[in-house]
């Protein structure tokens, strides 16, 4: 008898658990290939715990540290957090340190730390982003990261897989962000049931790598443990891998659910305050007049996101304050070299540092009382980006840019014609 068909999630976990096969629902212990931490949940939290245990990092070569939450430091507390981070990296002998280079989920694959087939954890809820590279990656809190740093292992309940298949092709002006807002609106913040969500279909295959990252990134808002996409030549080319490893689900692998959508029919989506699940098509929001447009975060300010915004804003001026915080320094440099950044600046964009910034409620640009904003980020929970009375509409970079140009929430397809 041959092997039982398995999902991508099962295969990745079986390898990390050193097992021939694993079954959804069973609890297994996996060896961790990579642990990523940032300045907020990382050294400032784990250093005192390591000292209490008298323990050392199990394998410094498997740890990646990235500063993104409190950079640039803007007050006494944030300066202290960054100082602790830099000191600890030196003490612990960690070479993989990316300081003020951008947001961890974007910098991690950009610097070649991820590969298909890996099992990885991150000290941040958007860690499922790594699943776009056919790696099993999920987020945990600071104490659990400490456990990984000491033991090199972590437990998990083998997830079932929910397949989200988009056939056809997304129309111009429609992006991965729209697909995610649509799914979260349809299935809710717990639609993922803390299982694995796997994105499939022709519309997904046609997406560039950073758009795929957006899908897996927002598996967090869908309440999944991770989001996954099988590896292919797009993965290989982005990571510049010489040897290509195919990691995918077997054709008859058992699924908890299989949802199929026609990608060609998807319209731009907007999530109203105060939940990413509060989603309807953009055409239902055109009376809303935000005062601020924000293009930022791991979800919405990667190079591909900046390109989307520039496609809309080329030759146009923003009718409102427009803030752009490119997700990584490298992406910002590419955007500058190819002219994308100039389009945004000529439209009136103010450039902010490469970090989490407003999205995570950090930094100096938090939303004031009663501010209405439209944002390319992932979460609009009450008070997250500033004053509890502020109101945040979530949308794709296309829609945020179109809204900036029009002075009201605007369907980007109108401006791309």
């Amino acid at each position: 008898m041959g092997k039982m068909p398995a999902t991508l999630a099962q295969k990745l976990i079986a390898r990390a658990a050193d097992r021939g096969a694993v079954t959804p629902g069973e609890i297994v212990t996996c060896k961790v290939d990579l642990a990523m931490i940032h300045d907020s949940s990382g050294p400032r939290r784990v250093k005192p715990m390591l000292e209490r245990l008298g323990a050392k990092v199990w394998d410094p070569s498997k740890v990646v540290v990235i500063t993104d939450h409190y950079v640039p430091a803007y007050d006494e507390e944030s300066r202290k957090i960054i100082r602790i981070t830099r000191d600890w990296v030196r003490e612990a002998g960690i070479d993989n340190f990316h300081d003020e280079q951008g947001i961890c989920h974007v910098v991690l694959p950009e610097r070649g730390h991820l590969k298909p087939g890996m099992f990885a954890v991150g000290g941040d809820s958007h860690s499922p982003t790594g699943g776009a590279f056919a790696a099993y990656m999920f987020g945990v809190g600071a104490t659990e990261i400490l456990g990984v740093l000491v033991t090199g292992e972590i437990w998990l309940k083998v997830p079932h897989t929910i397949a989200m298949e988009f056939d056809g092709a997304f129309a111009p002006g429609v992006s991965a962000k729209d697909a995610m807002l649509f799914l979260i609106g349809r299935f809710g913040l717990d639609g993922g049931q803390y299982q694995a969500v796997e994105y499939r279909g022709a519309a997904i295959r046609a997406l560039p790598m950073q758009e795929r990252m957006t899908l897996c990134n927002m598996a967090a808002e869908l309440g999944a443990q991770t989001g996954l996409i099988a590896s292919d030549e797009v993965t290989r080319d982005f990571l510049k891998l010489e040897k290509f490893e195919l990691w995918e689900s077997d054709p008859n692998a058992p699924l908890l659910a299989h949802h199929r959508f026609n990608g060609s029919e998807l319209a731009p989506q907007v999530a109203a305050p105060h939940s990413p699940s509060n989603t309807r098509p953009v055409t239902e929001f055109t009376e809303v007049r935000p005062q601020l447009a924000y293009i930022g975060a791991c979800t919405g300010a990667k190079l591909e996101d900046l390109r989307m915004a520039a496609r809309v804003l080329k030759g146009r001026k923003s009718a409102m304050r427009l803030l752009v915080a490119p997700a990584s320094l490298r992406d910002q440099n590419v955007a500058r070299n190819e002219g994308t950044l100039q389009v945004l600046l000529e439209a009136g964009a103010e450039l902010l540092p490469n970090g989490c910034g407003i999205c995570a409620g950090y930094g100096e640009h938090l939303l004031p009382e009663n501010m209405v904003a439209i944002s390319s980020t992932a979460r609009n929970f009450k008070g997250r980006m500033g004053a509890p009375s502020s109101q945040v509409y979530l949308a794709s970079p296309y829609t945020v840019a179109a809204t900036a140009a029009a002075g009201r929430i605007c369907d980007p397809r109108e401006l791309l014609r």
Partner: protein, 160 residues
């Protein structure tokens, strides 16, 4: 144990707002749930229980969310379901999180007795008994030890 009843999808930004995250837990805790239940942090007593609906703790990986509840003296969390990451964080801090399909039968202010071993909640006011899911054995051991850090301390101490 007094029950503090909240709705569905209570998110980590409500439990531990990001703008206070640069501070230690003693500074964060007074702001716990301030946008949802302004009197909560002031009035909650040691041993009280927080009861959520579906998907309690949605959002961030910030451990300060369960840590703030624990710091204020909350003894247990009960919900129809928890966000997976928050659930792990709570147990890692030694704060029991109990899944109870009938959590919506609990009214704010009810007095409860939560039994983790038997997987049940007794409503002392109504006499009603609600069944809940048992915390998996390997996690209950960690909770009994006082959380992951204390559990590791014990494990590493023994192996030395």
């Amino acid at each position: 144990m007094r029950a503090w009843v909240l709705g569905d999808n209570v998110d980590t930004d409500a439990i531990a707002p990001g703008r206070y995250m640069k501070f230690g837990i003693a500074e964060i805790a007074p702001h716990c749930l301030e946008g949802v239940l302004p009197e909560f942090a002031r009035s909650v007593k040691a041993g009280d229980v927080v009861v959520g609906g579906r998907n309690f703790g949605a959002g961030s990986s910030r451990e300060q969310a369960p840590a703030a509840l624990k710091h204020l003296g909350v003894a247990a969390l009960v919900a129809e379901s928890f966000a997976g990451l928050f659930y792990r964080n709570a147990l890692n801090l030694g704060l029991p999180a109990v899944v109870c399909a009938e959590a919506k039968r609990i009214r704010d202010g009810d007095m409860l007795r939560v039994s983790f071993e038997h997987g049940e909640i007794v409503n002392l006011g109504t006499g009603e008994t609600l069944k809940c899911e048992a915390i998996p054995a390997h996690l209950m051991q960690m909770v009994r030890d006082g959380g992951l850090l204390a559990h590791l301390e014990k494990r590493l101490g023994r192996s030395r």
